[in-house]
Every structure is written in C-alpha cells, then in structure tokens.
Amino acid sequence: MRRLCSSVGCLLVLLFTSCITEDVPQDTRRGNFEACWQQLDQRYCFFAQKQEQFGLDWNEVYERYSPSVNEEMTDHQLFELLGNMVCELRDGHVNLSAAHDVARYGKWYDDYPMNYSDSLERIYLGRAEDYQTAAGLKYRILDDNIGYIRCSTFANGFGDGNLHVMIQHLAPCDALIIDVRNNGGGMVTAAQHLASIFFNQTKTVGCFSHKEGPSHEDFSAPIPIEITPFIGLRWQKPVAVLTNRRTYSAANAFVLYMSEADNATIIGDITGGGGGLPLSTELPNGWTLRFSACPTFTKEMKPIEAGISPDIKVDLQPRFLERGCDDIIEAARQYLRP
C-alpha cells in the first residue's frame, strides 16, 4: 500500500509540475511584433525558395524592422509596420488581418497586365439567358462549336451531377475551353474534382509536403498528388485552359494538374502562383496571420509558388474593349479548331 501511495504521489507531482503552456509574447507593441516574426519564422514554408528567388534573409528583416517598434505606436501604425514586414515574403498567401484592414502583397498581379476583362466575358457568355450555370460554372457553346466554361472560383465544391450535366451539354463540341483567369482559388479538392474529367487513368500530377518542425529545413518527404479519373465521365477531345496572373492558389494547382492531362494546352499569361497551402494563426492582440504552410511542387519537384508558364503565351492586345475581342479566347479557338 505504501509503495502504491508513493507511486501515485510521484505521478501527481509529475502531473502538477507539467503544465503544458505556450510562451506567447505579451500583448504589447513589441510582443506582437515578436510573435508575428516568430510565427512566420517557425511555420512559413518558402524561406529557401524566396532566398533563392530574391535573396530573402528573414533574420535581416527582423533587424531592419525591430528598431521601429515602440510602445507609443498606434494600432494603425503597428499594423502598417507588421503589414510591411510580412509583405517582405512576397507571397499572396501571407496576410495580416485586423478589424480595419487586411495587409497583403499584391505585386504578383499589380506589376503585370490584367489580361482579362469582365466586359469581354459578358460578350462571350452573352446575356443571362444565353448561357447555363452549374455549381458556379458558367458554360455555353460558342458559334464555332467550341465549348466555353468560365470557372471564376474553386471556393465551392462541384457536385458529380453538376459536372455530368455540364459535360453532357458540351459533349457535341469539337473542343473545350476552361477559363480560370482571375480565379483566386478556393478548395484544392474542387480543383482536383474538375481536373479528374480529363484523365483516363490515375496519374501523378505533382508533389506535396509539410513542415515537421519549427526549423526552416524541417520538411516531410514529398508525397505524390494523384488525379483519379472521374467515374463514368471522361473528356477525350482537346481542351485549352486560359490563365492570367490572377490565376492563383487552388486555380494555380488546377493548372498544374491540367498541364499533366494528355489533351490539355495552357494558353494565356503565367499564373500568379500561390503554391503553398495556407494555414492561419493569431497574434496576442487577436489579429489573424495567414501564411503558406505546405508547399506544392511539380512531379519533377519544381516549386509552383512563383507561377506556371503557359504552353502558348498570349496577352490581350491594345484596344481590346473597342474591338470586343478577347485575344486569349480567340487564340485558344484558333488553336483548338479542327
């Protein structure tokens, strides 16, 4: 009995001296700065790529911004400082969100031509009664018997029935255009689902990894991303995927998947990238920090964070609105015509 009591006593001592807590900096200006830098330092996944791409040194960023922090700063001043610091990563998935604003890096699209116009989209899709829509996908048959699908987001999943009905409607077409320009992403599962229509057998289309620890080099072994063919529905004719710089995140992943499909051609501008699946965390003052956590690669292990180049590079030409002509759609139609 005495032995039992001592064992239990030891366990209780162990328990009550083993509170698991996290050492979070205090909710001060300095504390929030430290927490923001530290969270990214431990959990952001593209330090190696950014260092190679433009020489990013995250410790140097700390040294550069740290002297500017003082306790007299207003909330807006601190937000601006931290916003500028997170933008040093040049990553559209890294955002700092407060009640009054979202700090985000926008040069990945602002420094490039838009190559997309919703006025032109209206010309090609026509009035509401001219096109059909299923699960957010707008589609119609163009006058040269080429099917056109406008996919503006992957934020919502596509039902099997939606895709069946849409492809059955477009089945008589000679070819298909899937327009993912200005598609900012959403669910990668939705992107995989749509891409599965264009594969006849299970195929590795890329690789995926994640961090296993707080060090910059702590990554898991990459695992393959495989597309399994859609059950009972396979598109066998040519397909063109239209891209621009605002084709981002899950839409960027969709382009990666389609680049491995047998009959697919990528036409337009280089995609915006966003090859890291984002996760979120919080700062001591409650601001939300989003960051790229899990990198996606091509099957040859090339990162897609900086974008995917098209097979055929096409830009919108000057005065496209006056001409009422979307040069990227027209290039795709010309390429696809039998």
Partner: protein, 293 residues
Amino acid sequence: MILSDFGRKLYTNLILYSSKDIFVKGICWVALCVTLPFSTQAQSLRHLMSDSLNPVRKELHLAVGHANVLDTYLSPITHAGPAVGVLHRAERLARWGAGKVSVQGFYSGNVGFLESVADRGRAYSGDLTAAVAWHYNFHLPSKTRLAVGGMGEVDLGFTYLTRGGNNPEQGRAGVNLGLSLIAEQPFHLWSREWSASAQLDLPLVGARFTPNYGQSYYEIFSLGNYNKNIQFTHPINAPSARLFTQISIPLGRAKLSLGYWGDIRQSELHHLKRHSWNHYFTIGYVRHLAILR
C-alpha cells in the same frame, strides 16, 4: 449488452468497409473492449441463481464550470470561458474476484464556449469520453473504502476557432490505459447516512491522433498521407488526470450529489502543444439498485 452489440456493429461496419484505415480500426477495437465487460456481465447474470443479488450504483451529474484551452496547431493564444458537461457513472461488483472486484463505466461529455483574452475572438471546444475501470476494493475499518485498479478509455473531441481561416478546427481522438483510484467514506449526519468520495484517474500509456507540425487535414484525409499521425503517449508527453469528488446527501431513496469534476488533458506531440483544463461544479443524483435474478 446493447453497448456491446453497438461496438460489434461499429467494428464490423467500419473495419470491413475501411480496412485501410488503421486508426479507425484501433478506435473500434477499443470501443469493443470498453463495452465488452458490460456484455459479459449481463450475459453471465442469466446464469445466476434467481435469488442472487447484484448491487449496482448509477449516477448522473450535470456540470457547470470553466474551460481553458490551448492548441498551438490553431493558435498560440489561450482561449477560456464557461463550459457545461454531463457525466454518468455506473458501478457494480464483478462476477469474479470474490466480491472484492468492482467494474465501473464512466461516460462524460462537455462543451466550452470560449473567448481569447485579447479581443474576445470566439472558439468552441468539446470532448466525449468513455472509460471502463476494474477496481480491487480494500474495506478498511470504519467502512472506509479504498479501491485501486486499471482503466481503459476512449476520447473524442474538437476545438473550433471562428477566425481559423483554412484551419479552423482541430479534431482529437485517443485511447488510454491508466491507473484508477477511489476513496469513499460514509458518515452519519442528522441520523442519515451521507458519503464522501473521490476518484482519481491517471492515464499512463496510450495512443493519440495528431496532425504533424505543419500538416493540413487535406493532406491526411484527401491525399491519404499519414505521417506519424498516431503518437504513443505517456505522462511525460501527455500528463493528464481526471479527478471527481462528491458528497452524497440522502434524499428519499436516492441521494443528491454535489461535487467537483476536474479534467486536465494535455499533450505535446510533433512540437504542437495542447491543453484543456476543465473545472466543474457538479450536481446530480446517485441511485443504488439491487438486481434480482
């Protein structure tokens, strides 16, 4: 019996149709093991003589208290707030052990309505626990009961952050084997028999699901990449305990119970820290039944 049938069906359905999912298999095995003693006892009761007597104690408690939750997969910030729960205990003598071994079922559920300290960012947390324990009873002088035994438990839970973006929720699932202790002392007050009791459960070894440090649920469940997602737990990496104390006040044929329920769950796996400190005031009733066969 019913529980065991449920366990068997759960095992058959989930294991046969999810044969690749080792973790689901594990959960089902443990669920089956947890429910099995009740089945065995219920079936064996049929073989008892008709005049035999098997005392059973059943308790149901409602709990109101406070929860303090940290999960660094979601946020390094601690969230805390009011919590409510329900707890059910049933205990009876085992068929074996010459009247000195008792078997106990312990089932609890709780949900916390949490806020971050800084700016009232909302979060929710909940847990379900099912445990079974076998105790060897020492009957000491002055009717003091001291019981020592082993327990097995299954727990499922979640934490949901309303501002979590791509990773708003963390799921939890685990199994534990551990030590269970009960001390009980009846006493007389105003010519009625009251009793005070305390039960301490200490998980010693177990297995727990956890995503890896930066791993997303998309990778685990959509791509099917399991990267050490089941971790072995012990008091060093998961120091946890459950304490339940109560005073039973006689009230007619039953007893009113007032008590304290403390549930301390902690782990540090894959550099991810988690704690869920729950403290409740409980009110419930205790019934002693004698089953005649």
